[in-house]
């Protein structure tokens, strides 16, 4: 039987016992994400010109755009965070924020049957103010 004091991990174990935990007490402590982290896509409905490039280039088909109805919608839970839509948008309407996507724990369904993670912007005729749903 080996002498326990000669086991090389013992010193590290004793140090672990008296030092602070290496893990974070999530969700009570949340590490802020680093700058440039891929989080959620944010959309500015004012500048969009409905060219539909983002919807065409999205690899996960998470963006749906309708030029006639002037609707721009994204499924956040389908989005893979690849940043291609941000790169191709000519009007710079899309940005990638570093905040993590919201967590949906139940299969919530919105009044129009939207799935969890679905976010939609409507831009009616220029006379009215735009609405977010």
């Amino acid at each position: 039987m080996a002498n326990p004091l000669k086991l090389p991990m013992v010193r590290r174990s004793l140090r672990n016992l008296v030092s602070r935990p290496a893990t974070r007490r999530y969700p009570y402590e949340i590490r802020p994400r680093f700058e440039g982290a891929r989080g959620t896509i944010e959309f500015d409905v004012e500048t969009c010109n409905y060219c539909m490039l983002c919807a065409r280039r999205c690899p996960a088909a998470a963006i749906t755009v309708s030029r006639e109805d002037r609707v721009w919608a994204i499924e956040h839970l389908t989005c893979i965070g690849c940043n291609v839509c941000v790169e191709v948008c000519a009007k710079k309407s899309l940005t990638m924020s570093k905040e993590s996507k919201p967590v949906h724990t139940r299969a919530e369904v919105g009044p129009q049957g939207q799935r969890p993670g679905h976010e939609e912007w409507h831009k009616p005729a220029p006379a009215e103010a735009p609405a977010v749903s």
Binding site: L53, R56, R57, V88
Partner: protein, 156 residues
């Protein structure tokens, strides 16, 4: 049809010279004009240090393909996969897993008929065969200029 004796002798020469089996890959060739059924392009890739060579053969569906398990024992995984996904009739595999390797929903997902059914469901015509030439040995790198640049819809 593949000449079994000559092919196995060629593979055994690689084995004796110390080459390592790197890949056995099958590609489905969809039937183009002049062909009444599809085919498979099978590549055996061998590596020795920094050297790399391939054997390429074109197989018709139903043709018998001899297994190279006697020279390269590790070939059984690739050959089981070829049989299960492509339907290529490989005979004499060292460890025969009887079609239980991958549990796919469709039986032979990469056979020409299955691929055609999926492409039609997607509403796309079959791609016109404009293949780069496949060399029989040597590093099979065949690059050519694109012939339909207009298909790209995005500006650079």
């Amino acid at each position: 049809m593949i000449d079994r004796i000559a092919f196995l002798a060629r593979v055994e020469k690689y084995h004796k010279a110390g080459w390592r089996l790197s890949l056995i890959n099958a590609t489905t060739i969809m039937p183009a004009e002049g062909m009444d059924h599809g085919a498979f392009d099978v590549a055996w890739a061998f590596a020795r240090g920094t050297e790399f060579e391939t054997i390429r053969e074109r197989i018709m569906p139903g043709d018998e393909l001899p297994s190279i398990s006697e020279s390269f024992g590790a070939a059984f995984l690739y050959e089981n996969e070829m049989r299960e996904l492509f339907g290529i009739n490989v005979t004499g595999i060292g460890l025969d897993l009887q079609g239980q390797l991958y549990k796919t929903a469709a039986r032979v997902p990469f056979s020409p008929s299955a691929i055609r059914a999926r492409l039609e469901a997607l509403g796309r015509p079959e791609p016109v065969a404009k293949h780069g030439t496949a060399t029989a040995s040597g590093t099979a790198t065949a690059s050519g200029a694109a012939e339909k640049p207009g298909a790209a819809e995005k500006p650079a």
